[in-house]
Amino acid sequence: MATKDRLIIVGGDAAGMSAAAQALRMRDDLEIIAFERGQHTSYSA
């Protein structure tokens, strides 16, 4: 299996999740790992 490019996102709320969603639409060969220290994302995500 080819290794995927790896994207790390620190912070899983409005900005982080928007970036993740859009990056996945652009490239299906990305492996995305988002780190979120809280338990919720906000109303604005």
């Binding site: 790896r6 912070g11 970036a19 995500a45």
Partner: protein
């Protein structure tokens, strides 16, 4: 990385990295500020906890420190639940993102709802009893309190990025370009931890809002995925409300225009949200600034009844377009009696401002 459940630390290899760490609430550095019963509201969990405390512990007296949008939204919530609410603000009026003459209208709305508003007062400490807050000390008085909420602003969470050597702007937030690049290849930043560009002042700005965080995140995702997108910047648009009073601003306030050295004309008018004779027609005040000489619109502020606030978006669009006030004053805005007077209050304000530039 450190896993919070068990404290294990580990490393993740990475090709690209996005900082989207947001902003954290400021805390007051005064005696007693870590007492139980003093809360910030930054997350959904904070809000849920506060609601539970109000329901379970039945606090009688709430003191809110800070009269920004978080402070006045919390005041609204506490008044609705029957608490006795005091609000302490260091500035000359609440809503410091507005000019004082407009903020005064919001202070008046708070007072009308029974909130005790203390302006130009500094919180100097908190009295606690067995670790539980009992009173707020200001430089002028002591306010008994069962519950304290701090709404004294936020600061960018940029420590991680700074440690990694990313340049920060004057605000302390991560400096990024219009494609959300940090200057280090493969490293990006977006949202409240990052700066943005102000299209009216033509300078970097730090205005942490959900609107911008979503857009910057989207732009960041497109670019790091190999596409091309640019985020030109913001004009400083924001909105909030207290009970029936809507509060909105965009562009530069008079205070900001002065600080930046703009020469400007200004109009402040009072009019109505709907035709005068129409049910629920309410008062609204509009303040509008335009640059002397060029006539370019610089900003607007609105305080008024239901239907007033979202009108700010028209001015925001005009600011994005770099419109002059004499162009703005004949805009073809929608009219029927349930929605506005035949001259929308924004257009009346623009007519007046045009005479000043």
């Amino acid at each position: 990385m450190r896993r919070l459940e068990d404290g294990a630390t580990y490393r993740e290899p990475v090709d690209q990295l996005v900082y989207a760490t947001g902003a954290g609430p400021r805390w007051l550095e005064v005696p007693g500020a870590r007492s139980r019963g003093i809360y910030g509201v930054a997350t959904l969990a904070d809000g849920l906890l506060l609601r539970q405390i109000v329901e379970d512990e039945r606090p009688q007296r709430a003191v809110i420190v800070g009269g920004g949008y978080i402070g006045i939204e919390m005041a609204e919530a506490f008044v609705a639940r029957g608490l006795d609410v005091s609000l302490v603000e260091l500035g000359s009026e609440v809503m410091g993102t507005l000019d004082a003459d407009m903020g005064a209208l919001v202070s008046a709305a708070l007072r009308e709802a029974g909130v005790k508003v203390y302006l130009e007062e500094r919180v100097t400490g908190f009295h606690a009893d067995g670790g539980q807050v009992r009173a707020v000390e200001t430089d002028r008085r002591t306010l008994p309190a069962d519950l304290v909420v701090l709404g004294v602003g936020v600061q960018p969470r940029s420590e991680l990025a700074a440690e990694a050597g990313l340049p920060l702007g004057e605000s302390g937030a991560v400096r990024i370009d219009d494609r959300m690049r940090t200057g280090i290849p493969g490293v990006w930043a977006a949202g409240d931890c990052a700066e943005t560009f102000h299209l009216v002042s033509r300078r970097p700005a730090y205005i942490p809002l959900g609107t911008t965080a979503n857009k910057q995140g989207r732009i960041c995702g497109i670019n790091l995925g190999g596409g091309y997108a640019r985020f030109p910047g913001v004009v400083g648009t924001a909105i909030t409300k207290f009970n029936q009073t809507e509060v909105a601003r965009t562009g530069l306030s008079e205070r900001e225009a002065q600080a930046l050295g703009f020469e400007y004309g200004v109009a402040r008018i009072e009019d109505r949200t709907r035709a005068r004779y129409y049910p629920d027609s309410a008062l609204m005040v509009v303040k509008l600034l335009a640059e002397k000489g060029s006539g370019r619109l610089l900003g607007a502020q609105i305080v008024g009844g239901p239907g007033a606030g979202k009108r700010i978006d028209v001015v925001a669009a005009a600011l994005h377009a770099g419109m002059r006030v004499d162009e703005f004053m004949y805009l073809d805005l929608a009219y029927a009696p349930p929605f506005s007077p035949v001259w929308d209050p924004l257009l009346i304000a623009a007519r007046k401002a045009a005479e000043q530039v």
